[in-house]
Point group: C2
Chain length 197, copies 2
């Protein structure tokens, strides 16, 4: 079939999230077709990112410098810390561009099923930051899953001796959603946490 | 949000077929996470493919050599030529590993809508091959779409002065399909071309 090198590339591309062999083949063909406009610029940018981007030693974000631009920012509120599961969640928070505090990336959530224990997460560094930095409030913005909630509860326990306010994101019906399409758990939760107007 | 280089990479990845910004972000994060096991090998393989792989001057296939391994093969039947739309279709044919002839990649099909004219396709080279090579049968394996059929008819016209047998792939109900899920056109076609047992 296709040359060995092409086959090897298809296999590597198929390892990327949400891609299978079929879409990997389409992508590789597209790259070969658009050599000048896509393939070569992509290789160049990937090489640059691989060379330059590192993990921020303070919060765990990815950036070209460490500490990252968020951690080293003078204008952001260092007393407010948002704990997220992953850099993807940090990016999602930044896209809203409403949060002006700093971050801490846990690198996952506790999971009995996947064998993720507290020592696998970036928790010790979080405690060290609480000793070192003047943090007044911690927002636990972990996923609204069972594992996320277990992790939130675990962190509340670990943080209870520190003099910080702890909060989590509000849960309820997302914007634009119709009740008919929501799961029972969300409706129950929204009902229990209903707001008096 | 994320560094400029990362943003640039996300934008490039989002240009790949079937990917949007969201999946591009996930892919870039995965690359950064699996730096040694995925990111660096991928860059290396892409660089290798970009350097080595070229378009076969005879059939239009991609390979590390030109003429490609199919065209230069001694064991394949040079009297049988399969005309396909794209390298992807050539690969699909090769995966079946039943066809032992050679190929000719058109590089598309005629399309009034997309403004693809005969001179945009690799047709002149096909005619030259018919003069030069000893081709006895041409299988027109173009897509079963209207544009594909128009292209097939056009090629039949262009090939009628040559002493070659022309055939197309059989059309009908695909293997494993249930009638209930087939479109009317396919059922009609399968009915009209029914086989007496």
């Amino acid at each position: 079939m296709a040359g060995k090198d092409i086959e090897k590339l298809v296999k590597l591309v198929a390892k990327l999230p949400a891609l299978g062999t079929r879409s990997a083949r389409r992508i590789v063909l597209q790259l070969l077709k658009k050599r000048e406009s896509l393939f070569l610029p992509l290789i160049e940018t990937m090489t640059e990112v691989a060379e330059k981007v590192k993990t921020c030693e303070i919060c765990g974000n990815y950036d070209t410098e460490s500490p990252c631009s968020v951690c080293s920012s003078e204008t952001r509120d260092g007393t407010l810390l948002c704990v997220v599961q992953d850099v993807a969640d940090l990016w999602a928070m930044e896209r809203v561009s409403m949060f002006k505090g700093k971050y801490h990336v846990l690198g996952g959530v506790l999971s009995a099923l996947d064998g993720v224990a507290p020592e696998d997460l970036n928790i010790e560094n979080l405690l060290k930051r609480l000793h070192r930095e003047e943090i007044k409030e911690i927002i636990l913005a972990l996923p609204a899953t069972i594992d996320g909630q277990i992790t939130t509860n675990y962190l509340i326990q670990r943080l209870k001796d520190f003099d910080v306010k702890i909060s989590t994101l509000a849960q309820g019906i997302p914007m634009g959603a119709e009740l008919d399409y929501m799961d029972e758990g969300t409706i129950q939760l929204a009902l229990n946490s209903r707001k008096t107007l």
